[in-house]
């Protein structure tokens, strides 16, 4: 449970090719980390697989930042 932020950060770093220190709590995937809209879909897919959860489309839309992702996954898993 406590390693969720690290696992999420690893996925984001690998997928978007950004520096680890850029992935802060409030970092927006699109505005701060250079993701396009399809990248955000792929990130959600990667989160689903890493954590064995289902993220429905309407929930996926609310996941805009690194912090959003960690919060959602903590609640879901």
């Amino acid at each position: 449970m406590s390693d969720i932020p690290d696992r999420v950060r690893k996925i984001v770093v690998e997928h978007l090719g950004v520096e680890e220190d850029k992935v802060t709590e409030s970092a927006s995937f699109i505005d701060d980390l250079g993701a396009d809209s399809l990248d955000t879909v792929e990130l959600v897919m990667a989160f689903e697989e890493e954590f064995g959860i289902e993220i429905p489309d309407d929930a996926a839309e609310t996941i805009q930042t690194f912090g959003d992702a960690v919060k959602f996954i903590k609640e879901a898993s």
């Binding site: 399809l38 879909v41 792929e42 897919m45």
Partner: protein
């Protein structure tokens, strides 16, 4: 020339003339093929003929649950779906003034909505592997219209617009989405035409003959190949010149 070794292709409507030819062409090029269709017997016969690397995946595309399940079944049977050929289609011809809502809806459901759902269902795997080929079999009537086929022409034109939109979205992930638009092709469907009807049709075709299912399959094979990696959002018309678009 085109080598699909190691690629897995799902073909809908594989029990029909054109679908069967597509399956054979992709299989001959080395692909593993998933043969989908409503009638299991002809699919099994085709699979037996092809031998190895052929799987039978019966699916009724007018059943939404079966459509939703098909991409998963295909991926489980073959290991992945790298190539999707949406070939299945039905006709419910009628004059526009007489066309029932049911005739309209059933054609849209099978020809367009099922295509949308199957594309969506295979995209995840293609996105992950950064390679994919989707070939949607449209029709010349999608571009030209045809009396008595308002529903069919709408669905086939819809496939083209859908393919182009999807092509935009996934091009950066190594996935191409194209359409093939056959003209008049010799199949069980066109065998039923009488000589007068055939003569009327042939008069409109500069090539002076109907096309063969193999000629459609060749177009699909090209678009499914690695060589066609820079072709996306295109519609390849295979119609003997009857409509030069």
């Amino acid at each position: 020339m085109f080598d699909l070794t190691g690629k897995c292709a799902l073909i809908t409507g594989a029990s029909g003339g054109i679908g069967g030819a597509i399956a054979k062409a992709l299989h001959e090029a080395g692909a593993t093929v998933g043969l989908s269709g409503t009638r299991e017997a002809p699919l099994q016969a085709l699979a037996d003929e092809l031998g190895e690397r052929a799987f039978v995946l019966p699916c009724n595309l007018s059943d939404p649950e079966a459509v939703a399940a098909l991409p998963k079944q295909a991926a489980e049977a073959m290991g992945s779906v790298d190539i999707l050929v949406n070939n299945a289609g039905i006709t419910r011809d009628n004059l526009f003034m007489r066309m029932s809502d049911e005739e309209w809806q059933s054609v849209l459901d099978v020809n367009l909505t099922a295509t949308f759902k199957l594309c969506k269902g295979v995209l995840r795997g293609m996105m992950k592997s950064r390679w994919g080929r989707i070939v949607n079999i449209s029709s010349v009537v999608g571009a030209t219209g045809n009396p008595g086929q308002g529903n069919y022409a709408a669905a086939k034109a819809g496939m083209v617009g859908m393919s182009k939109s999807l092509a935009y979205e996934v091009a950066s992930r190594g996935i191409t989405v194209n359409a093939v638009a056959p003209g008049f092709i010799e199949t069980a469907m066109t065998d039923k035409l009488n000589d007068d009807q055939k003569a009327g049709i042939l008069g409109q075709i500069p090539a002076g003959r109907m096309g063969s299912a193999d000629e459609i399959a060749s177009a699909v094979l090209y678009l499914a190949s690695p060589e066609a990696g820079y072709v996306t959002g295109a519609t390849l018309h295979v119609n003997g010149g009857m409509a030069m678009l």
